[in-house]
Amino acid sequence: MSSIWTVRRSVTDRKVSGLSAGLARAWDVDPMLVRVGFAVLALSGGIGLVLYAAGWLMLPAEDKDQSQLEEWIPQTRTWSREVKIGVVVAACIIGALALSWLVPFSFSAALVVAAVWYFGYYRNRRRPGDRSEQPPRLQFAEFPGEPTAFTEAAKAWQQRIAEYQEAVLRKPTPRTPTAAAAAAAATTAPGLSTPTPEPPDDLAREAFLAHPDPVGLYSEPEPDNAMEQLAAQTRLRRRSARRLGLASVIVLGLTMTGLGVASVLGAPITVGVYLSAALLIFGLTLLIGARIGRPRGLAFGTVVVALAMIVTLFAQNNTAVAGGVGIRHLHYTSVAGLPAGDHLRVGQLTVDLRQVNPDRPRSYTASVGTGRLVVDLPAGVPTRLNGSVGNGMIISDGRQLSSGPDLSLREQPPATAVGPVFTVNLKVGNGQLEVRR
């Protein structure tokens, strides 16, 4: 089977982009089978859609030299195949997660399609050395001009190649002894000549083919020491990179094991710690690899782990990034631990002030740029409330007080209240302000 990278999208048998027809021609199967396979894969976590889009973008059409992706983003011409495969795998995972609520099947259908393709086609395909498939004969063009030394040499090579090809084609295919004996009897019958010439002697042919310059046109170039040194350095660098990659895998395994043991023993090891530790090892390996050679795939793996770590840290509740993004739950039990204010840029901020009982006048400010701010106020404490919402709504004790732009909420402590006043300032840029008592 030819490589997937040599497949060209068909321009003659095109339903959408010609990808299915191109694959079917490369695999020598009916295009309808490929289309059905894509449809089943599309229903299996949406993988078919992602793979089809990837094929449309990355495989060029018959009448073009470049793929759509390379036309639109010329920088992708330098991408290696490993990077492209990694992008497709990541897109499949993201697509499956995004479309999991929409498509009816899980990954099981994709596994079934993969199994059918592997056991039904891939394992039974013809190998390159399969004798049952004879190679096409080569056709040589005749040079119309005056013969030169070069054309004579070319003719000699053409003749030798034709003889060799003839010998290969005449090699007997495996037959039963009975059939072979019958054929031998037919050719040695009295009165009949044997028109088929004997194949050239193997040893003589091999000796001729082993000669680099049968008519003396070329001379052996002098060995280039600089190129040899460069090649040796490249080999050494690749070997060092491989060793570094193996060492980093060992260190990574030991680190993960250590974190796992620490987690079992009760240490607070979160997913963020695992990913951060892995990223640290990858980063240090890259720094070493900058000098002795970078292991293959390490840069891509580092980017993936870094993205996963960032997403994990932000997705965790109670993110410690002040004024960042996420969901924060703050619970204050005393005035001593109460800061002047808390701020969240995007997300939900919940502040529990029910146990705060100031012994002197005190103020506290909580704000959310975009999102939701929920505040539990202390009971029995004289509280002055100043709330404002740029655009959104205000809810108090489960009731919606107002909605729209430029909202405000003002409450003063009762005149009969005794004790220091606790001033609470609440601000929401865009979103919802909810006050509970």
């Binding site: 690899g289 900058a290 050679g293 580092t302």
Partner: protein
């Protein structure tokens, strides 16, 4: 001839290492103030860029 370091590995390694240290710091309960981050992060990127430029400069 002394071999030049691989700039991509160098820059990516520095970024990954700093990011990992930050992630570990946050995971173990540390706090990262936004006011500090909005100054330190761009400066760090500038510094790493300068290192990358220095590492990739042509040598005679």
């Amino acid at each position: 001839m002394k071999r030049r370091p691989d700039t991509v590995s160098l820059v990516l390694g520095l970024l990954a290492t700093l990011l990992a240290i930050g992630g570990l710091w946050l995971s173990f309960g540390g706090r990262l103030e936004w006011s500090t981050l909005r100054i330190a992060a761009p400066l760090t990127l500038v510094l790493i860029g300068i290192i990358g430029l220095a590492a990739s400069r042509p040598r005679s």
